[in-house]
C-alpha cells in the first residue's frame, strides 16, 4: 500500500485549530454576489424619506427663504423622520404594510417578502448533477484509462446520457438513466439510476463512519466479491484513487447506494431501487 499522504498522527487541539485557520485562508471562495443586481431588485423609494430634505427640495413659492419657510422646512424634516419611525414600527403586520405603502404614496410597493424565483427546468438529465462533460459511450471509452462497464440488464438498457468527470486519476464515467416502468425516479438525484465508475478503492472503515446513525450499511455479495449496500442515509463516500489519493465523493442522498468492484474498477449505483433489484442490475455489468 502506498504511504498515505497528510497527517500521520492525531493533532493536538491547538494544532488542529491552527491547521483549520490555515486551510480557511486558502479556500477558493467565490466572488461576492452582484450587488447592483441586488439593488435593482429592491423597491425604489425616495431617499428623502430617510435623509433630511436637501436644498434641492425648494419651496413652493419662489421667493427667498423667509424665517417662516425655514421653520416650515424643519417641520418637514421632523415629519419625515417621524414617518420613518412609524413605518419601521408598523411594518410588522401585512395590513399595516399596505396602509403604510398607501400613506407614502407608493400603493403596491413591495414590502412583502418575495418567494424564491422558480427553478428553471433542466434540459438534460445530468444537468445540475455536475457530472462533468457529456459524451457518447464511445467517446467515454477513449477518455478514461479503464474499461467502461455497461449493464446487460434489459430494464436498464443503454444509458440515456453519459458523462466523463475528472475528479479521479484515470477519469470517472457516469451513466444516467431516466425513469421508466420498473425504474422509479430517485428524488435525491432527480433521475432513476446514476452509475459511476472509476479506478479506485472504497475505504471500508471510512464508509462505516460516514453512514452514521439512521443509515444501514450492509456487506453484500456482488458477482462473488464483497460490495456495500447503503440504505436511506445521508452519507459521504471517500475513495482512494489509484495514486492512493483520498478523493471525497460526496453524496447527499437519502436514497440507496450499491458500491462494488469489478477488477480495478469501482462502481457505484445510486437509485431508489430495492437491494434485490440493485444487486440484479449490478450482476449484469460487463
Amino acid at each position: 500500500m502506498p504511504e498515505r499522504p497528510g497527517f500521520r498522527r492525531p493533532l493536538r487541539e491547538d494544532e488542529l485549530e491552527r491547521a483549520l485557520r490555515d486551510v480557511g485562508a486558502r479556500i477558493a471562495y467565490p466572488e461576492p454576489p452582484d450587488l447592483a443586481a441586488v439593488i435593482r431588485r429592491l423597491p425604489s423609494r425616495p431617499r428623502s424619506l430617510a435623509a433630511p430634505p436637501g436644498p434641492e427640495r425648494g419651496l413652493r413659492e419662489g421667493h427667498s427663504e423667509s424665517r417662516r419657510a425655514r421653520l416650515r422646512r424643519s417641520v418637514l424634516a421632523v415629519a419625515a423622520a417621524l414617518t420613518v419611525v412609524v413605518t419601521a414600527a408598523l411594518l410588522a403586520s401585512p395590513a399595516a404594510r399596505e396602509a403604510v405603502a398607501g400613506w407614502l404614496g407608493l400603493p403596491g410597493a413591495r414590502i412583502e417578502l418575495t418567494p424564491s424565483p422558480p427553478v428553471a427546468p433542466t434540459r438534460t438529465l445530468g444537468e445540475g448533477l455536475r457530472l462533468g462533460e457529456r459524451v457518447t459511450i464511445a467517446e467515454a471509452r477513449k477518455r478514461v484509462d479503464f474499461h467502461v462497464l455497461l449493464p446487460r440488464d434489459t430494464v436498464l438498457g443503454r444509458p440515456d446520457e453519459v458523462y466523463v468527470g475528472s475528479e479521479f486519476a484515470g477519469g470517472q464515467v457516469f451513466l444516467v438513466y431516466r425513469e421508466r416502468p420498473g425504474l422509479p425516479r430517485a428524488a435525491e438525484i432527480g433521475v432513476a439510476v446514476l452509475v459511476s465508475e472509476f479506478v479506485g478503492r472504497v475505504d471500508r472503515e471510512l464508509l462505516h463512519k460516514m453512514v452514521g446513525p439512521g443509515g444501514e450499511l450492509e456487506v453484500v455479495d456482488v458477482n462473488g466479491r464483497p460490495g456495500f449496500w447503503v440504505e436511506a442515509a445521508e452519507h459521504v463516500v471517500f475513495s482512494l484513487d489509484r495514486n492512493g489519493r483520498v478523493v471525497p465523493d460526496t453524496l447527499r442522498v437519502a436514497g440507496n447506494v450499491l458500491l462494488w468492484q469489478q477488477g480495478n474498477v469501482t462502481l457505484r449505483l445510486e437509485s431508489a431501487l430495492t437491494k434485490q433489484d440493485a444487486l440484479s442490475i449490478a450482476s449484469s455489468f460487463a
Binding site: R201, T250, G263
Partner: protein, 226 residues
Amino acid sequence: MKSIRALQGTGVDVASYGERITPLGGRPLEEHELVDRAKGGDVHAYEELVRRHQSVAVRTAYVITRDAAEAQDASQEALVKAYHSLSRFRAGADFRPWLLRIVANEAIDRVRASSRQARLTLRVAESRPSNDAAPSPEAAALAHDQQQELLMAVNGLSAADRLVIAYRYWLELSEGETADALGIPRGTVKSRLSRALARLREVMSSYRDPGDLSPAEPREGETGRA
C-alpha cells in the same frame, strides 16, 4: 461597530469600510445609522451596508452549498430578503450575524431543494490564499496534501458542523456573533464547536487507519471485465 482588525480575514472590504456614505460633514455613518436609513427605504444606505458584508455573506453560503454559483445566488437572494425583513431587525442588535442567519437559511433551503449536492466539495485555491495577505509561516508549513486532507475531512461533516467551524476559524466571528448567526444560546457555542471538532478528528483518524474493500493493489493487467 466592529474594529477594522476584527474584519480582517472575514472578507469584509476593509479598504472601503465606512467610506462610501458620509453625511455632509464627512463622518462615516455608523452601522446602526445605515440600518435606520435602510429601514426607512434608503436603498443607498442598504447598498453601503451590504457592501460591508457581502464577502462574508457569500463565504458563509459557500461553506454550506460548496458550489460557487449556488453560493452567489443564495447570498444575492438572501440580501434581497434581508432588505424586506429589515422591519424585524431588532434595534441595537448586531447586523452581521442577523444577515448571516438569513444567508445560511437561504443556502440550506437551496441545498435541500436541489439534487446538485452530489460530489460538491470546498476547494483550496490553486496557488495563493483567498485573501491578499501573505501566508503565515504556519500556513506555509502546512503541506498541500495536509490541507487537502483537512478540507476533505471538513467536507465530510454536516453543513451545521461546517458552519460552526467556518464561523469561528475561517470567518472570525466572535463567540457572540456565532451564537446569533446560528440562532443558539451563547453558552452553547463552545460545546457545538467541540462536537464538530470531535467529528472532524474522527474522520481524520480514519484516514490514518483505513480498511479496504478489496486486495490493496489491483492486480497487474486487470481490465475490469467481468
